[in-house]
Point group: C2
């Protein structure tokens, strides 16, 4: 299935060349869609302005004074809630690690043409909101409903279709207790780029599910088949396949690059001697069981020490003692979750570049 005609007004290459060079379109996306600099792995909670951010279209302007959320479709009673009504409901605060499904896309060969994340599309924040479940209970879900459809106020063109950003969830997933309608991030009202005044927050899932700038929630009788469900966010090798929907975050560990960086190449300079390597690991709804570090480019691996997880929905710190000796080294880290899923060393390739959780490599010069 493809949503793009050959005579598109907005041409989109399917795969980019292997020259190691990036297009201007990719660069534009890299500037709009902010990455978390990896030294921010030092913070258990990512400062708001360092959290990763993916905006498909533009950040919309929303006047909270006139904004309302509609909960409708196959319900007993359509609700229209303003932000005060939502804030007056029971509130929950959760530390949640969120990651973009496209994290690691730019490491793929060949490279799908889209947001070219290297490894920085992740962050953890404390989100405050009201459980979606209670709102759906108040509306009353009709028997014929099979999914909950979420519509944001962000509009644009993708795959040649003019669209509002829309994603759906099964009723089982949407009514899990940790799924929130969130209006605060790290103790402050959402900044505009994070979905002000209200966003969906679905812990454990890749970020595309946590629809920002929520405008409408609708109970529907058929599974939703819009662009954001059927195109980018599927695991598939060719555009002829239906593929498998992208859902929970795959296991990953990252390392805060040690030492100091060179400005342009970002190669790291490390002083010879003992050094503690640190980072964090996470995995959708599963717990992290193990983190291993290699200091020789992946030939040998040794266990890192794990810290407790920040919350059931957030990353877990790790550390590893290394005695570095002069020379060039490639450090690597990989995690295993309690389901036995091990982060791969090789790329995990799909047509749209989602779910590539291959292990990070960090080049260092020890002197």
């Amino acid at each position: 299935m493809t949503h793009q005609d050959a005579d598109s007004r907005f041409p989109r290459g399917e795969r980019l060349d292997e020259s190691g060079r990036f297009t201007r379109e990719e660069l534009q996306l890299a500037f709009r869609n902010r990455g978390m600099p990896l030294e921010a792995l030092r913070y258990p909670l990512t400062p708001t302005g360092m959290h990763y951010l993916l905006t498909h279209f533009d950040v919309p302007y929303v006047d909270a004074a006139t904004w309302t959320l509609t909960v409708g479709g196959l319900v007993s009673k359509t609700l229209t809630l303003d932000i005060d009504a939502i804030r007056a409901r029971p509130a929950t605060t959760l530390a949640v690690t969120m990651e973009c499904a496209g994290n690691g896309r730019a490491l793929l060969t060949p490279r799908p043409a889209s947001q070219p994340w290297l490894l920085e599309a992740v962050g953890t924040a404390e989100w405050t909101g009201t459980p979606l479940r209670g709102v759906l209970e108040d509306a009353g879900i009709d028997d014929g409903a099979v999914e909950v459809l979420f519509t944001g106020l962000d509009r644009g063109v993708q795959g040649d279709e003019v669209q509002s950003y829309q994603r759906s969830l099964s009723i089982d997933e949407a009514t899990r207790p940790e799924v929130l309608l969130a209006y605060e991030m790290n103790g402050a009202p959402l900044e505009p780029q994070h979905g002000y005044p209200l966003r969906l927050l679905v812990p454990g899932w890749y970020g595309m599910t946590s629809v920002k700038w929520l405008e409408r929630i609708e109970l529907v009788a058929e599974p939703f088949t819009g662009f954001q469900m059927m195109d980018s966010y599927r695991y598939r090798q060719t555009s002829d396949e239906a593929g498998v929907p992208v859902d929970l975050i795959r296991v990953r560990a990252l390392m805060a690059p040690p030492g100091i960086p060179d400005f342009y190449t970002r190669t790291r300079l490390v002083e010879a001697g003992p050094i503690t390597l640190t980072g964090r690991a996470w995995a959708g709804r599963a717990r992290i069981a193990r983190v291993e570090v290699s200091t020789d480019g992946g030939a040998g691996w040794a266990d890192a020490t794990l810290e407790p997880a920040l919350s059931p929905h957030a990353w877990r710190g790790w550390s590893f003692e290394w005695t570095s000796i002069p020379g060039h080294h490639t450090l690597s880290v990989r995690a295993t979750d309690e389901g036995g899923n091990v982060q791969p060393i090789e790329q995990s390739w799909t047509i749209s570049g989602v779910g590539n959780n291959m292990a990070q490599r960090v080049d260092v010069i020890v002197e």
Copy 2:
């Protein structure tokens, strides 16, 4: 003058090819150094997490409980100030537009190898701090001092030199009343990436002067000739020239792209009919005298309507009524300051890609 040997450990290309493709090093920098998405021109004050950000090295970790600022060198009395001592001093809040000297670099042909900004390296915030002047008066400037040297806690390699980030100012510039030691941005303590716990803020100058994570202020007897003064931040055509130091921000206007975007190409789709184009304009220490808009790719220009400036140090809003007709159009905008400086239509090329204030172009499809 060049700070790089042929056998550098950290190779840096001087000029990149003209294929329109970008290197992996440029992409890495684009993800670390956050741009303001241009729809954020709608906000008089840029939300903190949407403000542009350029970090030469890594964001350092600073414990404010043990951090101190030293004011020394050629002074009557060396001061050691903790954050409470600085917060106890007279406070000023100023709305200031800040821009990176490299804004527009990636639009140059050929393109210098560095942070590849397109047009998004700008933002306006309300900064709160204490005037530097008062602190220098308390320390007492010796007669032999000619400059004030500022050292940040961020360290790394640039031009093959291991360095802390350092910039200097003349005593006249450093003692202007609007120069602040700033500890708040938009009413909240600085986030780590904006210089927590204390940064220099020099309104009117390009951002490289507003040293973050301040550690030391030193009165010196000779003009400072470190890397960040003599290399990137100079206007010059070849590396043999001494060149002219980069200082005040050059005049520029930007437009919030109208309509809705295509996800990958960012081409804009606009409905035919009347539309108000809006944006903002600014110029170092001068006022904006005029903003002109072209809707035909720069052939004809017409005056935009100007709003009052937000503060003497901040940008000025503008608007322009356009009746769009179906077809492909290239919109452009240019500003003129009260000193008579007009934004050029052609690129302003320098070896390090600084000060390229050529007019923005926005491609739109009207339907």
